[in-house]
Amino acid sequence: MPMTLASSITVGSGGATQIEFTNIPQDGKDLLLLISARSGVASGADGVLASIKYNNSSDSTYTTLRVFGLGTDASSTVTTNGTSTSFYRMTTPDQAASVFAVGRVYVANYAGSANKLSFSEAGFNNSNTAIDARFTFFRRANTAAITSIQITNLDNSFVQHTIASLYTVS
């Protein structure tokens, strides 16, 4: 599966609440998004959530299955009719210093005319002892080709040195 870097963005000193890739080339088969992020405001042990959505739409078409574990116990939930999918928890200034959460999202057949299926893997360290891991499978019940992706910090800003890289897979 050859991958081509479409673009990589590093957040500057002012921070940003959202990173948006627009006019995504339609010549690939799948998309791969890699993200390393940290949030800017203290929030306690739960960290801060980030979401992903496609085509900057507010339609309630996301069904999400999450398998997750914080510490030793793993469990799962299913949610429906979302306007985006929260897929990622980030460290904050009251947690381990300079530790960025990591994650990736794989989007299948993004330029096709079927509903859009994606999965993500992400993990963060909410202190030096507790690690949160989550595996998320989500479906957008919308057949439009994906031309843009929005990654949003749902509580504050992504801090400087947050990196998001988008690849096309052919």
């Binding site: 963005i9 627009t22 006019n23 739960d46 799962s76 800003s157």
Partner: protein, 81 residues
Amino acid sequence: MSDTPVKIIVDLSKPEGERETIVPLTPEEIAQLELDAQRAEEELALEQAEQARIAQLKQSAKTKLITGEPLTPEEADTLVL
């Protein structure tokens, strides 16, 4: 969030070096962000409740195994796939 939040737009139709712009979120985008954040918090609360439920079932199952008591079907489900 007291300051107007901003987003970084990376326009892949433009040449490298000209792709990035930083713009304030529109009022509509801010309103949607707040709705998404509220929903995400509700989903996180659901996750935490589910984690607590599973942990409690496992602990109960462990205690009953040690003392020789029968498990409930839910408790058994935490041990057998």
